[in-house]
Symmetry: C2
Subunit: 423 residues, 2 copies
């Protein structure tokens, strides 16, 4: 079967005004890439009948599958169905079931039915109807003139769910290719170093392919293979994955997991251990990130956010003399914070972080100076980081948190704790 060329046309003036990003096109493209269907174009056009018509006709001319998002609602500027039907010479026909759903819903909420509401239940003749369980506007699909046309509402949750539930299985049945991706997660090998290691191989690869993405010193490397079966694609990825992981070394923290905290969750769960944290500059972000994971309460007992010297004294019992002598941003205070939070909470591991996230410094340290510590039955280790005085607050807080999670990972897997930022 020849590959299906696809175009996604998103309709909505709010996209052209930059009020929202076109996440519908992204979500749908990602799903299509996983079933091996090639997306050739994304187009965004406003709620304007002539321009929308031109875009539909252009697409009809250059691709096999047209997917529209948006413009199916009840307001006067929702025109997608009318224009698309017209471009394919199809009349709009009232759908009794959708009409009833809509009228029941509207009677419940508003008590008044307008002509605009009525238009939502008009569907191009011969279409398969996609009932909308996440909103009110139905979607639909039809085949005509050798093309496949799929129309989905615009709100991201509706678009994602409706495409996944109704359109994807149908399109998957038309595709010969399966695409499989795996993601290697890396913390502490910089993007440029990764590039140096991998470029010679990467530039010669066509299938599988390999692509790196980086943020806050947290990298992911996506390896993707295309084949006619899942098993075959997996088989193609396996040796590349193994070789690449060997080359990168112990900064690889996981495969197909979303972030460092998830890896820490896995390890704590395997070892049935708990941790606690005392945060200063990260201001609760470490606790927040870990407790984003459902079930976190089994392994995270609690933490303190001691944003001021007084709180470090009151909540953790850090001696005021030490704070005075060494300042809150110091190796000694980080050491005491980790030790004390572990003791107070009786957790297996206590971690701490204290530093300067900016934008103003304390007159002593450079912005980006951060001390982190990890206390366990094996003692307490402190690392001093220089995260860069030109970095912003958000980066410093995020990178500090990443480093703390990586310290826990390294401790739990028996790896040495190293300052990956200075390498």
């Amino acid at each position: 079967m020849k590959p299906l060329k696809t175009e996604i046309i998103s309709v909505g003036t709010e996209l052209l005004l930059g009020q929202i990003a076109n996440t519908d096109a992204q979500d749908i493209s990602l799903m299509l890439s996983e079933i091996g269907i090639d997306v050739y174009y994304h187009t965004v056009v406003g709620d304007n009948p002539e321009r929308l018509r031109d875009c539909i006709l252009t697409a009809k001319n250059r691709v096999d599958v047209i997917i529209t998002t948006g413009g199916l609602g009840p307001t006067y500027d929702d025109l997608t169905k009318q224009i698309v039907a017209d471009c394919f010479g199809l009349p709009l026909i009232e759908n009794k079931i959708e009409k009833q759903f809509l009228y029941d819903y509207i009677t419940n909420v508003h008590s008044e039915i307008s002509d605009n509401n009525y238009q939502q239940s008009l569907i191009p003749e011969g279409s398969t109807i996609f009932h909308n369980k996440w909103g009110t506007a139905p979607g639909c699909a039809f085949r005509k003139d050798g093309k496949i046309v799929i129309m989905i509402p615009g709100p991201p949750r509706e678009a994602r769910n409706m495409f996944k539930e109704y359109a994807l299985p149908f399109l998957a049945s038309l595709s010969d290719n399966i695409i499989v991706s795996h993601e290697i997660r890396i913390f502490g090998t910089s993007e440029s170093r990764l590039d140096n290691i991998l470029r010679p191989r990467m530039s010669q690869m066509t299938n599988p392919t390999m692509a790196p993405y980086a943020k806050e010193a947290d990298c992911l490397l996506r390896i993707t293979a295309k084949a006619n079966s899942k098993e075959k694609a997996e088989e193609m990825i396996k040796p590349v994955m193994r070789e690449t992981m060997n080359e990168i070394g112990d900064t690889v923290y996981g495969v197909d997991i979303p972030n460092l905290e998830s890896r820490v969750y896995q390890l704590l769960s395997e070892k049935r251990m708990t941790f606690s944290c005392a945060e200063s500059c990260t201001g609760g972000d470490i606790a927040k990130r870990f407790t984003d994971i459902p079930g976190a309460s089994q392994f995270f007992v609690g933490g303190v956010v001691t944003y001021t010297d007084e709180m470090k004294e009151k909540l953790l019992g850090i001696p005021p003399d030490l704070l005075k002598e060494k300042s809150a941003v110091s190796r000694e205070v980080a050491f005491q914070m980790a030790k004390r939070i572990k003791e107070i909470t009786s957790s297996d591991i206590g971690v701490s972080v204290t530093g300067l996230a900016g934008p103003t410094d304390d007159g002593i340290h450079e912005i980006g100076t951060v001390f982190t510590a990890i206390a366990s039955k094996d003692g307490c280790e402190v690392v001093g980081l220089k995260l860069g005085k030109d970095r912003n607050r958000e980066y410093i807080r995020r990178a500090s948190g990443n480093f703390v999670f990586d310290m826990i990972r390294r401790y739990l897997t028996g790896l040495p704790i190293v300052d990956v930022f200075s390498r």
Copy 2:
């Protein structure tokens, strides 16, 4: 002057694979909308010479200004400049200054210069060069055949900064219109209620216009006016703003501020007061959100994340009998948590939140059951919320945090504390 029709063409296969959202088009569109330049289309096309050529020629045919993002880098699939120059019949010319910048940079980092690197310093003849201070690939702009063409690199930070610094002032000088927007921020009036209040007026407005956006019970209403001067646009917005704010009432928490925590920051700063928090189900998110604001340490003294009963006892001194009798998710425990954190930290205000964010319940309460409290010199008030058993963990945590910030806002402005979710 006639309005300038604009198209943004983003070049990159990673966009068509859904690996990233097209935030470049969004960022640029938002900047253009502010200077009154109409964007008619966004197009995304892969790193494919024929299809890219077709898209450029289509744009040349239908708009006045073509802005491209992406495809300016050093790799073999970066083709934007070559194809665009060709579509306009312009040769590529070596730019000595950019070549030197590039060679200096590459010699510093890699030590080897390839033909691919060299191509970055080739620019269409007669272009204005945009030196890239955020990366290596220069951008450029030229006028030819009655069109304005602007090329910007793809990485979002580079695209945003280069467009803002180089292209925007030039385009602004060509536009007759100024667009001014103000945002009213609302917490606790549901989107549908807002719609009921505003629809009659909104549907009749053309300039200014008004559009609502909602998430996690936090709404924003954007009022936008187009005029030939900033003063005139402001003048047009003023009465609409006043009337709308009156209609909505005390759920309006601010104008042109990003979120509830910023409003709390403003109020605490005006009154020179401090707060502290004891978090259970939000797991540090309240502390994290407040300390996202630079300067937070003046008003936020600290907090505890007491994720387990034991921690509520150890860190806050909540009597174990009370926890046993009433359970951690209770009016009584929320009351004690707020009172105790205020006392321990000697802050002016102590807030607390304890509840069930899911995905599993405790066998007693429904998911979404949350108790929050605020303690001050005027006593301690508790509110019990039902955030909805069908809501996900992320929503419940976020909405709880919003409610806590709104409690502080209401306390500091002398408003009654109300359960806005049950209205």
